[in-house]
């Protein structure tokens, strides 16, 4: 771990949604760090809160969302305390985002050149310089004939190309942090390989940090240096990718890895699953949130919600079983 302070540091973040049925506790005591220049993966299944987490970082939450505790520090400043104007300054420039659906992430009625030039509106450059920068970025992400293609519209590109353009737009401002929300989920596997390779190369060149959200464990294993595992609004385990994948300390992580069909070497007609469903977050179960589905639960799990315990260098898990295992 570098001695420099983390680029992004989320401490004890809790967030609820006001719904007609009551308060839905979407995030509970989330701790997460993204060091400078590192790639951190966030892994979890539907309902784990990863999309809510990203929306919180960017402060793009619906009106019924309420932060009930914690802080999100970006370069030392708490984003939750910033004014809307200060937040707008950050968005797109210091923190950029790539979304899941390349089909809808671009404005369909503007040419991509126009959109890429617009993105640079805060830069004091001439129009020609902006155009050149756009062409340069398009070439960087592998769009053939970029100068001619500036005039084209999003619908004239394929899905893979559109995602590359979205990445180009995000990285054009050389942000410190790139947040990618399932950028390859909507793409075919062979396209995913290309995009992952592209992100790796660009990250090396630009040196930005990447927060990569996905449910695809294989991609995390390949691309990310650190991983954060989320379940039902909590971070249940985090740490270096090798450590977490080789020795998962939390039962959920272990079961999740076991369920990945790619990992199961022997052909099986009885694939493992995690029986049950995620709990209702309006009234989460007492104690540990994973207890109802945990194969290793014991008495204490129902009485007391576990704290995060360190289990190795940089690895920690929110589980009673992890207590006392670390240094």
């Amino acid at each position: 771990m570098t001695a420099a302070p983390d680029l992004l540091s989320i401490r004890d973040l809790s967030l609820s949604f006001r719904t007609p049925r009551g308060r839905l506790q979407a995030l509970r005591r989330v701790n997460l760090e993204v060091p400078r220049g590192r790639i951190v993966g966030v892994v979890g299944e539907s309902g784990c809160g990863k999309s809510t987490l990203i929306a919180s970082i960017l402060r793009l939450l619906p009106p019924n969302a309420e932060v009930t505790g914690g802080a999100i520090r970006f370069e030392g400043r708490d984003l939750l305390e910033l004014s809307p104007r200060a937040m707008r300054e950050l968005r797109g420039r210091r923190i950029a985002m790539v979304f899941q659906d390349p089909m809808t992430a671009l404005n369909p009625v503007l040419s991509i050149g126009r959109q890429m030039i617009d993105v640079q509106y805060r830069e004091g450059r001439s129009r020609r310089e902006k155009r050149e920068r756009a062409v340069e970025m398009l070439a960087r992400v592998g769009i053939p004939d970029p100068a001619q293609r500036l005039e084209a519209y999003p619908h004239q590109f394929s899905g893979g190309m559109r995602q590359r353009i979205a990445i180009a737009m995000a990285l054009m401002m050389e942000p410190d942090l790139l947040i990618a929300d399932e950028p390859t989920t909507a793409l075919d596997a062979t396209l995913e390989v290309q995009i992952i390779g592209l992100l790796q190369a660009l990250q090396r060149d630009f040196g930005c940090s990447i927060l990569f959200v996905t449910h695809h464990l294989g991609v995390v294993a390949e691309l990310c240096e650190e991983v954060v595992v989320m379940y039902a609004g909590e971070v249940v385990e985090r740490g270096p990718v090798e450590a977490v994948f080789r020795n998962p300390a939390h039962p959920y992580t272990a079961r999740l890895l076991a369920c990945d069909p790619g990992r199961i070497v022997e052909r099986s007609r009885n694939l493992p699953t995690i029986p049950g469903e995620i709990p209702d977050l309006v009234s989460p179960p007492p104690g540990c949130v994973f207890r109802p589905r945990c194969p290793e639960a014991f008495a204490r799990c129902e009485l007391e919600a576990p704290a995060e315990h360190a289990v190795g260098s940089g690895q920690s898990a929110r589980c009673h079983l992890a207590e006392g295992e670390g240094r």
Binding site: E45, Q194, G218, D260, G262
Partner: protein
């Protein structure tokens, strides 16, 4: 001829341009061939996986098999009966024996009907009104592991996994011999995928079903399919026993697909094969072997001549320079 399903030379095409526009643009043919000559066979009690990416034609093929799309050429024999060109009443009879599960679990359920109405719909369609819907509904839901009170729910009240099970229940209503499952695990979390796959495997053992799974997820295929066929641009480029295809792929595209689904193991050396470019448009099919523009092993011959299919044991592949296998000397 003991196969349940035998497909020969199947072609399905769509009109991409109006006749006038085609003439004006000088395009030779205004049609795109989504399925460009496919040969398939499926035996009783067997599971065949049809694997391909977007544009491969796999969904089109499945829909053509059940008669939802018109077929340009070729033959489909189901239980020794030719399906192509039969009357609509004959089709109706066939649809009692062949059922399809669609990709969108909630969207394939009529939104204003209850689950009970949905799973018993096949009875009403085929005029089997004598059956007690209550009892049948409970039976079908029980087969897929859902409690009978789910019958009261509406599609929008179901989770993805539950909706998929309802789709399976509905498909089983008339005791079909063959189920066509279009992306049965798409959109499902990894922890839940197993439920559907285990269910299909169990039902197959219990009822002797044959299953044709259409998917792009190779990892899933390995566990549930006896045989696998890989599609690219409307043709099958390789097919064979699943274990063999996974262990010793012959076609470079198969190899690329296999490497595109990495294990969740950071220690494993990732030999991810990055294919050049993207899937070409069906309007502009490459010459010779259609995979050659993206193939890492392409040679001059591949651009000029289309390869013929080579049969090897129970498998088949279409490539001039197949990858080394256990029986061939290396270097192909």
């Amino acid at each position: 001829m003991s196969g349940l399903l035998e497909v020969t030379g199947l072609r399905v095409r769509f009109r991409a341009l109006g006749t006038v526009k085609a003439l004006l643009r000088g395009v030779e043919s205004p049609f795109v061939e989504a399925v460009a000559g496919v040969d398939l066979a499926l035996a009783e009690g067997e599971t065949l996986a049809l694997v391909g990416e977007s544009g491969s034609g796999k969904t089109t093929l499945a829909r053509a098999l059940i008669g939802l799309l018109p077929v340009e050429a070729g033959s489909v024999r189901f239980r020794s009966r030719e399906l192509i060109g039969q009357s609509s009443s004959a089709w109706k009879a066939v649809r009692r024996e062949m059922a399809m599960m669609f990709q969108d679990p909630v969207g394939s359920l009529s939104p204003r009907l209850t689950v009970r109405a949905l799973v018993t719909e096949p009875y009403r369609i085929h005029g089997l009104r004598g059956r007690e819907t209550e009892r049948e509904c409970a039976r079908l839901l029980g087969l897929v592991g859902l409690p009978p009170d789910f019958g009261e729910r509406y599609p929008h009240q179901l989770s993805g996994g539950q909706a998929r099970r309802v789709g399976v229940a509905r498909a089983l209503a008339l005791d079909p011999r063959l189920i066509l499952a279009d992306e049965p695990t798409a959109g499902l979390d990894v922890s839940v995928q197993g439920e559907i796959l285990n269910l299909l495997a169990r039902l197959q053992d219990q009822l002797g079903l044959s299953i044709l799974i259409i998917t792009h997820n190779l990892n899933v295929v390995r566990h549930v399919a006896d045989r696998t066929a890989i599609m690219y641009l409307g043709r099958i480029v390789e097919q064979g026993e699943t274990e063999r295809v996974f262990a010793h792929p012959r076609h470079p595209y198969t190899e690329a697909l296999l490497s595109a689904n990495p294990q969740a193991d950071p220690a494993a050396r990732h030999r991810r094969i990055e294919l050049k470019g993207e899937v070409p448009s069906l309007l502009r099919r490459p010459s010779g072997c259609e995979f050659h523009p993206r193939c890492p092993h392409a040679r001059p011959l591949c651009a000029t001549a289309a390869p013929a299919a080579t049969t090897e044991g129970r498998g088949r592949f279409t490539c001039h320079f197949p990858l080394a296998g256990p029986s061939l000397p290396s270097g192909g």
